[in-house]
Symmetry: C2
Subunit: 170 residues, 2 copies
């Protein structure tokens, strides 16, 4: 006589599941970003890529993917779009014919400067419904969880990889 015949299978269980909440919040976050930044033709992913290339001029695509935790295949098309928009340029590396180095163009730097206030508004809006103390608590827990789960994702974040292109001293 099993008192718990099987899991109940209710939608409430789905709505309370971590995976569901993370997916839903990601949906909402992208939506808010796109709304605040609609004047600029940039997606959240493209924005992150621009920031990373700005911070690490001359980085190559593989290292870039590690620095922003993007899948490398996906990043290829992201780079294509940023090239098409004229925000970045790609030059072959002299010492390694496989590698192509990435730099921001003048237009890339300009759009970055213009979009940053909109991005900051978007980031603030995502947490706006919470009280300040709650926002801080949530961001603290999320940072922890993302960091501790880093290896669980298919594309772990490797922030330190970005430095390798500057002289690769092990």
């Amino acid at each position: 006589m099993p008192s718990k015949p099987l899991s109940p299978i209710t939608m409430d269980a789905v709505y309370a599941a971590p995976g569901y909440l993370f997916r839903r919040m990601q949906q909402i976050a992208v939506s808010i970003f796109m709304e605040e930044c609609k004047a600029f033709d940039l997606t959240p992913v493209q924005y992150a890529a621009l920031i990373a290339i700005h911070t690490h001029p001359g980085i190559d695509a593989t290292r870039l993917s590690a620095v922003i935790a993007f899948d490398r295949s996906t990043l290829g098309s992201v780079i294509e779009r940023l090239l098409a928009k004229g925000y970045i340029e790609r030059k072959p590396a002299p010492e390694d014919k496989r590698i192509k180095l990435l730099h921001l163009t003048k237009q890339g730097v300009a759009i970055l400067r213009e979009i940053i206030p909109a991005v900051e508004r978007a980031q603030a809006r995502m947490l706006e419904p919470l009280k300040p103390a709650e926002r801080k608590a949530l961001m603290g827990l999320m940072s922890q969880l993302v960091d501790l789960n880093n290896e669980a994702s298919r594309v772990p974040l490797r922030a330190e990889d970005a430095l390798e292109h500057l002289g690769k001293a092990g």
Copy 2:
């Protein structure tokens, strides 16, 4: 003499941004789900759709999209895949020729029963790095935030829509 010339534009600012953390955690959550459920040919989205159809037999695609907060267009292809796998069936509604009603097949019910333990393991693993009290706090804050931001997303959750197909008493 601006003491804050512009935003510094560092990767650290990106890593601490809500939008980045939500995207990253969603990546990790999907990865863990797929790992735990790799014996079953089901994605997180397909799983949620199956649960919702099981909970609301005879629901149509539009209402289903509201119940699990999926984009209506995306849901079309999700349904196609579930049909192809034989987990659901689609029948025209007698009283409205536009509508197609969705039901689980025997195989759909079976796979759901089989996969649930794996899904529960996945959900637990996502929060595993945190202490129990932290898990509870995080889920509480996420539930709140997702709920309060519901209208900010392009596809707001409308759980109550699911009931309309049962006699639509306003």
